[in-house]
Amino acid sequence: MENTYYISNYCSIKNGKASLNGNSQITSSETEIPLVLKNIYKELDLNYRKFFKMDTLSKLSFLAAEMLLKTPTEAIEERDIAVVLSNNASSLDTDRKHQKSIADSTNYYPSPAVFVYTLPNICIGEICIRHRLYSENSFFIFDDFSGEHLFDYASSLISSKKSNEVLCGWVNVDEENYEAFMYLVSTEKSKIEHTTKEINRLYQEL
């Protein structure tokens, strides 16, 4: 934990706005989250059909990761990027949809496509498939955003040589509320030092 690491890039998606390194990149006039995320997908000029099959948490995570990692390349695969995400609603948004489909025993048709997203860490899987990451990954459920925990975990992954970089953050969806905050921790020197204080400061900027 004595080594100094850096936050090379960070991004956020909240209230219809997608920002990269504090600069607004995309603003959607839509208010409903599926339309906001579709707008951002289109604006990022992506062509990934599976995106439309994802649940909202995975779509949100996918887009935030896309802003930081851009188009998948072999270079990304070789960078050995671990993924550590967190939230406080787990996969509740999708769990509710699944529950609704099994609540009536006379109309019992659970959707396999919904059921597969009833775990929060599936969103990490979607990011890893897209960017061909075969690295360490973890998803934590906290009461609130915890910069301290993310700092400790990412620092530990790099210092113990489990990964070269860590894609960290908070991705939360609960009914109409959503927010994504992601950042890349790296050993390469940059303007923002990887500290709990800086992580919390960047999150508060959302």
Binding site: F51, F52, K53, P110, S111, A113, V116
Partner: protein
């Protein structure tokens, strides 16, 4: 039969969230999985649920799906022969 095929194409697009795919783009004999429309194993399960929910047909062996879901043609023929 052609009405059923059009109906199936609409349902496939809606239920499998095939964004940017239109009914006109799905040929009756187009392969639905793999190189064709690119459906995957979760889509196959969704189609099994759709057969049960919308046409009252239960597939007892999911392996049967391989032939039934080969194309819109094969799906329509199976539904015509088995629906309640």
């Amino acid at each position: 039969m052609s009405e059923l095929k059009e109906e199936l194409k609409t349902k496939i697009i809606e239920q499998l969230n095939l964004e940017d795919v239109t009914v006109a783009e799905i040929a009756d004999d187009e392969v639905l999985f793999g190189d064709g429309l690119g459906l995957d194993s979760i889509d196959a399960l969704e189609l099994i649920v759709m057969l049960d929910k919308d046409y009252g047909i239960k597939l007892t062996d999911p392996k049967d799906g391989k032939k039934i879901f080969e194309s819109v043609n094969t799906m329509a023929a199976f539904i015509e022969a088995n629906r309640a």
